[in-house]
Amino acid sequence: MTVSAGIDAGMETMKIVILKDEKILYRTIVPIGAESVSAVAERHLVQATKETGISLDELHCIGGTGANADDIPFIQKRLSETICSPLGIYWLFSQVHTVLDAGAGHFMVLKCKQGKTMKIVRGDKCASGVGISLRMASNVLGIQVQDMSQIARKSEEEVVITSTCSVFAESEIISLVHAKKKPEDIVKGVFRGLASRLYSLLLNIGIEDDVGMIGGMANCEGIVEMIEDMSGHKILVPSDPATVGALGAALAVLDGDKY
């Protein structure tokens, strides 16, 4: 029996995946909040062992990835997202060659072949293309992120958000609300901004079918559909897109010293 764990400590949430004999035994997504990253990881890993009946000793190896992974001392192997994302997606959809990876704090696009990254285009070090800006818009509008896609479908007159900067866009959205613009039209405008930034990365790397999208933003159907419309390519989204990085980390550590 081989058991491994992958922890993806992102900017907002931590994802843990436990693999047993190449099957997903357990996966979870928990918020990090103001607590120490290490404490969150430890507590949830212990919880995972309780729920799965696997002891910590049995965990073959623990792989870590994500912006906050360096804060977890018991990670045995620190892996970059350019290793984990393609491994995870290849395991789920072997036909995917172009991967959009957009989480709370990062966005990039990868060209991959059999679970290996061949080319990367990273987004700017600017929050305008990442999930945090979606959350900021959601807070200002008082609409939950998960409800945004459905609301945007009602839009008949999409609003253009002129600011790129998320901070300035936040003020612009407040003004739009004051100007009595409809929430669905504003949400659609917010989606457009994010979708076009992600789409420009796709253009930059060159699309090779199939296209997949992972990371928390892939949960937002409205954005995924918009990128599909803009690019004319179908986008495959796994059932739990935010956990693909953690899955990749759990897969990578199984391969001994390869990574």
């Binding site: 900017m11 103001a34 120490s36 990253v37 906050n68 804060d71 704090g105 070090k125 600017c126 929050a127 945090i132 800006s133 900021m136 600011s163 790129t164 900067c165 998320s166 901070v167 300035f168 003020s171 003004s175 004051h178």
Partner: protein, 266 residues
């Protein structure tokens, strides 16, 4: 007596200033409301009250700032770049470079010995180099923007902390992370203000820093930022008595010149 007025409607504050005989000035500063013309009216009424004047007593009014077209009682609008240069030059004739840090934009202006604009650069695209960065930093620690400077100057950490991200949103995440790692708030604030100072210095270097340089705008009230900018540029900057009124002052001065028939280049 010639009485002119300048009204500067910024994103954060609206300023109205009355200038008598190109000599005596009185002003008011109020937070900008959602409505530019309303803001202009409130600020103007306030300074009229203080000076016991009425709108009819004013010979010429110039409006400036992003809301300048919405001032019904102004005879003319002039861009804030021209106004800032005129205002700074009137107060300090030796000024050649002006760095104006506002709530939503930053301007670096180079002017000649007459106070006319020679060159300028503007950033209103990214919050990381504007006053908004300070507001976000303050919000991350549940503080007032006014508290940041004094705390930051108390930092003695060696080596000083560096905030890695430029983006305001990511920088705040960095700050939260440093706090989690047990770093002291004043050291983190010093890092944030140094980062902003560094960005402002490279921004002002794009027009070329010529002595003397003056720092204006609401953000110029931050004492630590002043110190860090001086350290970075290696020169002393001029401190304006009230850094927020430079645009309104320039507008009032240009109104005076307009009256005297000395047309300023727009």
């Amino acid at each position: 007596m010639i009485i002119t007025a300048g009204v500067d409607i910024g994103s954060a504050g609206t300023k109205a200033l009355i200038l008598r005989d190109d000599k005596t000035m009185d002003w008011s500063i109020i937070p900008t409301t959602g409505d530019s013309s309303e803001s202009a009216e409130i600020a103007m009424n306030q300074v009229l009250n203080d000076t016991s004047l009425s709108l009819d007593d004013i010979d010429y009014i110039v409006s400036t700032g992003y809301g300048r077209v919405n001032v019904p009682f102004a005879q003319k609008t002039i861009t804030e770049i021209t106004c800032h240069a005129a205002g700074a030059h009137w107060l300090f004739p030796e000024v050649r470079t002006i760095l104006d840090v506002g709530g939503q934009d930053v301007k670096a202006i180079k002017c000649d010995e007459k106070g006319a604009v020679v060159n300028f650069v503007l950033n209103d695209k990214c919050a990381a180099g504007t006053g908004r960065y300070l507001e976000w930093t303050a919000a991350a620690f549940n503080m007032d923007v006014g508290q940041l400077g004094h705390l930051a100057l108390q930092s003695t950490r060696k080596p000083p902390l560096v905030i890695e991200s430029t983006c305001t949103v990511f920088a705040r995440e960095d700050m939260v992370k440093l706090l989690r790692h047990g770093e002291d708030v004043k050291d983190i604030l010093a890092g944030a203000l140094r980062a902003l100072a560094g960005r402002l210095c490279s921004f002002v270097n794009r027009v070329g820093v010529e002595e003397s340089i003056i720092l204006t705008g609401g953000v110029a009230k931050n004492i630590a930022l002043f110190t860090f900018i001086e350290e970075e540029l290696g020169i002393t900057t001029i401190k304006a008595p009230e850094p927020q009124i430079m645009g309104a002052l320039g507008a009032a001065i240009l109104a005076d010149r307009e009256l005297s028939g000395l047309r300023q280049e727009r």
